[in-house]
């Protein structure tokens, strides 16, 4: 599950679609975001090698966890930003324009950033967009009116660029958290999060090697047009293109819905029996695959995804299933807050901060599966049991 699953907006879209249906047309929309590359404003930016080394280390560590050596990111415009102009004394007031707790991932993400703010003795001005880009535009306006020292945005879309520009005009540094804004958006000091390109490349490389570089595979993506879906897919596609023996027979969307995933996977099992592998971008999709293949009494092909307890529970019921997981941790919002604090302390920060996460295969299922917790838990978690119970994920 990703930061930008957007049920509230989707449901509004459903109603809009229903209205259109009644009036004789039917169309469906979900949240759409325009992504940009991970580059920040170019001013006061140097130290490329330091920033690149940090990113290289994240990629190498992720690859090493799956036994993949030499995994390297594409050349990107990264650097260390001089933030001395933002330096001020604490305690800090930091505004956080959140996606809002529209799913368990986002709920945990909010929890982590609030906790981190308390630890850093920072006052967090919080605003939930409830998954809606329009609401977030208003939220940022309201947050800026409270004159925060810094602004953290979990962007719901590029529509917030205008508000981010306003922050820049007021000399308020902006940290983009678990998402992206278009290239060159003024005021963005740093973009923090798990790299979409890493997720896509890592899991595709593992799958390609798992099937010895040849065979028929299917791709199950999330919501069409959403950056998380598209960037990860593009990265995976690039990897598969390097293996002439691999044939991508179909790409389908699961909308990160377990039901839709099960339905799509059931059709995969019928249409393409004996697939060699399934690349997915989500544990939700993987859960549907296991259910569908079990129902069809077919051997479950090797597959990939992010790391949810729901999937691990399903995998624990399926003997011999092979998978690779790369977590998209809700904990990364803590790094967003820490980065904002560093900016306000005048420390140099990378314009792109890529976050480490747990990467593992089915060999470590027993280590990661939390039988004592619900399917809402994102694995692994740094929540204590008391915190997990408070959030009702254990």
């Amino acid at each position: 599950m990703k930061a930008h699953r957007n049920p509230a907006l989707s449901r509004f879209a459903v109603l809009a679609s229903t209205a259109a249906l009644v009036l004789a047309a039917s169309a469906c929309s979900t949240s759409r975001q325009v992504g940009g590359s991970n580059s920040a404003a170019a001013q006061d930016c140097g130290g490329k090698s330091t920033a690149q080394k940090q990113i290289d280390a994240v990629w190498q560590k992720a690859g090493a966890n799956l036994g993949l050596s030499g995994l390297r990111p594409a050349e990107t415009n990264v650097c260390q930003v001089d933030t001395s102009k933002y330096k001020k004394n604490g305690p800090y007031t930091i505004a956080y324009a959140s996606q809002g707790p529209t799913n368990s991932w986002a709920m945990e993400a909010d929890y982590f950033i609030k906790n981190e703010a308390a630890k850093q003795h920072a006052k967090l001005l919080y605003a939930s967009a409830n998954g809606d880009a329009g609401t977030q535009v208003n939220n940022i306006q309201d947050l800026l009116a409270q004159k925060p020292d810094a602004l953290i945005v979990q962007p719901m879309g590029s529509s917030v660029v205008g508000q981010v520009r306003q922050a820049a005009q007021r000399d308020i540094p902006v940290v983009v958290c678990t998402g992206r804004l278009p290239d060159g958006t003024p005021g963005v000091v740093s973009t923090v999060g798990r790299s979409y390109e890493l997720q896509g490349t890592l899991l595709a490389t593992w799958l390609a090697k798992k099937i010895n570089g040849k065979g028929r595979i299917a791709i199950l993506s999330g919501i069409p047009g959403v950056p998380t879906t598209e960037y990860e897919y593009q990265a995976a596609k690039k990897v598969f293109a390097g293996y002439p023996g691999i044939q991508v027979v179909t790409r389908q969307y699961t909308h990160w819905s377990p039901t839709e995933a099960k339905k799509v996977a059931a059709q995969l099992a019928v249409r393409y029996p004996n697939l060699d592998g399934i690349w997915t971008d989500s544990g939700v999709s993987e859960t549907g695959v296991i259910q569908a293949y079990q129902a069809a009494h077919q051997k479950i092909p090797p597959m990939t995804g992010d790391s949810s307890n729901a999937f691990l529970r399903a995998a624990s019921t399926a003997s011999g299933v092979q998978f690779a997981q790369s977590a998209y941790p809700p904990e990364q919002t803590r790094t967003c807050l820490d980065t904002a604090v560093s900016v306000l302390q005048g420390k140099k920060v990378a314009n792109v901060v890529e976050v480490n996460s747990a990467v593992y295969t089915n060999a470590e299922l027993a280590k990661y599966y939390r039988k004592d917790c619900t399917d809402n838990l994102w694995i692994p978690t740094e929540l204590t049991m008391a915190e997990a119970k408070k959030l009702k994920v254990c």
């Binding site: 229903t18 069409p224 059931a266 019928v270």
Partner: protein
């Protein structure tokens, strides 16, 4: 209107209805033939099992929608009712069977409250059904969001898998449930005075009222029926996946209306029925399944579904025009 013009209108209306049924059946045949040629795996037992389940899920919700459409209403809260059923079954049971009966009863009770709210707004306050049921949808969604702290997810009890994922004598339970409910609905609408009152209310509420039909009670009952059937569909779909799933309401809300309309139930009330809705349900489900097997992407599926619905609505409009000018 003279007796002669009434007769012409009736004949035109009958011909229009027959044309819609024939068109829908023709659509099903075309898709089935295309599937035989292009995707022979369509007829494999695994796919047919899955298709029957989908017919069951859409069908149960569509029966309820048909009742509401017959009284010239529309129920846009079906999706929220589905969500409510799922969330209640997960939250009250914690994924265990122990409290399943209580959770089901609680879900039905809350659903009836939602249905009563719809009816209260439509009948009591004369709010247009589109607006009233949209308000209820929003209210329930808000309630679910508040209850689950914005995170409506979790496991549903394994006991529910009997109504969604299991089979009886090789036949998937969702379609069995649908067939039973369909038979009951067909009997009620076709063989009882209540059914006649439903049609009369939809065709001409003023005349029905003057004839002694308790129009308000009839309309109220249809919203209650729709709510309960939406909840049952929600419990079935939860049982199918085993998880609370926000996306479910998306599909079934839309498909329940589409199935009824494509089958030929009039949006203006008084015409149609669950038999026609069944044809619509089968057409929609077969089409979705076929397109999925073909590997047609989401955009393509929506385009084709949209075209089918447009065609159905166009036929309805054509039928009305023929009746008015005939």
């Amino acid at each position: 209107m003279t007796a002669a013009t009434q007769s012409v209108t009736d004949r035109s209306s009958f011909a229009g209805a027959r044309m819609r049924i024939v068109t829908s059946l023709g659509g099903i045949v075309i898709v089935l033939v295309a599937a035989a040629i292009l995707t022979p795996s369509f007829y494999g037992s695994a796919n047919l099992n899955d298709l029957f389940r989908q017919i069951g899920f859409i069908g149960v919700a569509a029966i309820g929608q048909t009742f509401v459409l017959l009284v010239a209403g529309i129920d846009l809260s079906v999706g929220a009712m589905l969500g409510l059923a799922m969330v209640v079954s997960a939250q009250l049971t914690g994924g265990h069977n122990d409290a399943l009966a209580v959770a089901v009863l609680a879900a039905l009770g809350l659903g009836l409250l939602g249905g009563a709210l719809n009816a209260g707004l439509v009948v009591g306050r004369r709010v247009p059904p589109f607006v009233a049921t949209f308000a209820t949808f929003t209210l329930i969604e808000g309630g679910i969001s508040a209850w689950t702290k914005g995170s409506p997810s979790g496991q549903v009890p394994p006991g529910l898998s009997w109504v969604g994922a299991k089979s009886i004598a090789g036949v998937p339970t969702p379609i069995l449930i649908f067939v039973v409910l369909l038979a009951v609905a067909a009997f009620v609408l076709g063989r009882t005075s209540y059914g006649r009152r439903v049609y009369a209310t939809g065709a001409n509420p003023a005349a029905s009222r003057l004839s002694g039909v308790p129009v308000r009670a009839v309309v109220t009952s249809t919203y209650l029926i729709s709510a309960v059937l939406a909840l049952i569909a929600g419990l079935m779909t939860s049982g199918y996946t085993g998880y609370v799933d926000n996306y479910l309401s998306h599909n079934l809300n839309l498909d329940s209306i589409a199935a009824a309309v494509v089958g030929g139930t009039a949006l203006t009330g008084g015409k149609g029925g669950v038999g026609r809705t069944t044809i619509g349900v089968v057409l929609i489900a077969v089409l979705i399944d076929f397109l999925g097997l073909l590997g047609v992407g989401n955009a393509g599926q929506l385009l084709i579904e949209g075209a089918v619905i447009l065609g159905a609505v166009w036929l309805q409009g054509r039928g009305r025009s023929a009746a008015q000018t005939g």
